[in-house]
């Protein structure tokens, strides 16, 4: 049995690195916004805590259970939004959503870094919800933190 290129695109090494060594794992203690979200069709769940001060996401941590795509996406999301303004974080969520749907987005506006590795998910419709869970939680959270 061999693995085709699509599978390698889905499971890029950077994704597996985030899955096996998640960044920002855990929970923030004080003055943080807490969001719990799950994907009812598959049981993935995320517990996201955000520290939002003066319109800036100062810190973010996540905990949860799920597949490699959902957990690596959460890890990358917390990494990229730290230090971003609320509107920038929301814009990143929008860009990410467009990336998952295979729609056009402004590639030059932000340095997406590791997040770019998730582009391959767009070719696996059944897995898009895995990737977007953390971003949806973040969107909800920063809006609450405003």
């Amino acid at each position: 049995m061999s693995f085709n290129k699509n599978l390698d695109q889905l499971y890029r090494s950077v994704i597996m690195d985030h899955y096996k060594n998640p960044r920002n794992k855990g929970s923030l203690e004080e003055d943080s916004v807490t969001i719990d979200m799950n994907n009812p069709t598959c049981g993935d769940r995320i517990h996201l805590t955000l520290k939002v001060e003066a319109g800036i996401v100062k810190d973010a941590k996540f905990d949860g259970e799920g597949c490699s795509i959902s957990m690596s996406s959460a890890s990358m999301m917390t990494q990229i939004i730290k230090g971003k303004k609320i509107e920038e974080a929301l814009e990143l969520a929008d860009i990410f959503s467009k990336m998952m749907l295979g729609e056009e987005f402004d590639v030059d506006k932000y340095d997406l870094g590791d997040v770019e590795a998730l582009q391959g998910v767009a070719k696996f419709p059944a897995r898009i919800k895995c990737a977007t869970l953390a971003w949806k939680a973040m969107e909800k959270g920063v809006k609450e933190g405003e």
């Binding site: 049995m1 993935d44 795509i69 895995c130």
Partner: protein, 408 residues
């Protein structure tokens, strides 16, 4: 036995992602033989009309086809009368009909309902919501460590206050075949009625409702080679006669006045609106097909496949199997987890190799909690699967393990 059966299932003759399709998700929905597809095609091409009304020839043909399917169902589960066979949209609707129809009428505050932790959400939430509405108490039978139900625990949970017991004939997660006849007896000794969720039973096990003596039994057409959108609710005639309809409208009425109406006799009083005629015809054809192969043969084939699958899967390091180890205690499905690889990732890797399995919580969240997992992978078999399919699954799982553990 069941030689060359794949040729009856056109869908199986295709490649998926560049590999021959190996379909191991029949517990979610089974594939359809050409006989079922043809029967529905023929119905639409020659006989389509509304039933139980109109004087014209097509109307008669459609009515005969629809009621003919009902007789096939009656015979399939050995019910006494066609009055006891109600066509529904599926198992979920059937169980909800009992909860809303029988439950609302007969339950009062403090009464008890007994189900088990291994129930599918379709046999859990209707009772949970009924209990909330009525102030009744919902009690759960906890399975044994091996995923079976012990009659001691059944006896300890069902009390004289229990009014309804509802249990799956077979677990859609652990594959456990439950002792329905014995549980029914215990329910009746305590004055409770027995409801059976046969969604995972009817496709695989011979059912005799008179022998089981259950009061209601629900199943779906689409898991037993039939089309989607059709299911069955069996109920004992006296119980159904005393039950009010759940849906009101055309087809189910006798006389309609401005301020009151009366209902048709059984089974039609529970079939409001234009029924699911073509799908009933398809279900009838599915039953003919199952009878031709023989439920005993299907059951034996699946026990054999389950035993083979358990043996083969156990050779994979780090693979955990849920449910009874004894293949004779289970139907043809195996639920498992692979260490360090999430079931979704397992399912995606297998799919890229043409193998379809299910991953997730299988609509059984309380059971997942009891098993202390958030999700599992499930391979489920039917008459058209063979040892070669299981070999491919095992090879795929080994590759998935290597891919995730070694490549990264």
């Amino acid at each position: 036995m069941i030689k060359d059966i794949k040729r009856y299932f056109p869908i199986l003759n295709q490649e998926v992602n560049g590999y021959p399709l190996i379909y191991l998700d029949s517990a979610a929905t089974s594939q359809k033989p050409i006989q079922v597809i043809e029967a529905m095609k023929k119905y639409y091409e020659f006989d389509n009309s509304n039933v139980h009304r109109g004087v014209h020839t097509l109307g008669n043909r459609a009515t005969d086809a629809y009621e003919g399917a009902r007789e096939k169902v009656r015979n399939f589960i050995n019910a006494k009368s066609m009055k006891e066979i109600i066509f529904t949209r599926g198992t979920t609707t059937s169980i909800n009909t009992v909860a809303s129809g029988y439950g609302r009428q007969n339950l009062k505050e403090g009464d008890e309902i007994v189900i088990s932790i291994m129930e599918h959400h379709a046999n859990l939430i209707p009772w949970q919501q009924l209990a909330k509405e009525k102030g009744a108490i919902l009690n759960y039978i906890e399975p044994e460590a091996d995923g079976t139900l012990s009659l001691e625990k059944v006896r300890a949970t069902i009390t004289p206050n229990t009014k309804i017991v509802s249990i799956a004939m077979a677990s859609n997660v652990m594959g456990t075949i439950n002792p329905i006849k014995e549980i029914t007896k215990i329910a009746h000794e305590n004055g409770a009625i027995m409801v059976v969720d046969a969604a995972q039973g009817a496709p695989h096990l011979k059912i005799d409702v008179q022998d089981l003596d259950c009061d209601f039994l629900a199943f779906s057409g689409h898991k037993m080679c039939g089309p989607t959108g059709i299911g069955v609710l069996y109920g004992k005639q006296t119980l159904l006669e005393n039950m009010e309809p759940v849906e009101f409208g055309g087809e189910m009425i006798d006389f309609v006045g401005l301020h009151d109406s009366t209902w048709k006799e059984l089974p039609w009083k529970f079939e409001g609106g234009t029924p699911i005629i073509a799908s009933a015809v398809g279900l009838g054809a599915a039953i003919d097909f199952l009878n031709e192969i023989g439920l005993e043969n299907i059951e034996a084939h699946e026990h054999k496949l389950a035993a083979y699958a358990l043996d083969q899967l156990e050779t994979i390091d780090g693979l955990t199997i849920y449910g009874p180890r004894d293949a004779n205690k289970r139907c043809g499905l195996v639920t498992f987890n692979l260490d360090d690889v999430h079931p979704h990732d397992v399912a995606t890797v297998l799919d890229m190799n043409g193998i379809a399995i299910r991953a997730g919580h299988h609509c059984a969240q309380p059971l997942m909690k009891w098993l202390k997992v958030t999700a599992t992978a499930r391979a489920s078999f039917y008459m058209y699967n063979d040892e070669a399919d299981i070999d491919a699954l095992v090879t795929g799982l080994r590759s998935a393990k290597e891919y995730f553990n070694d490549v990264f």
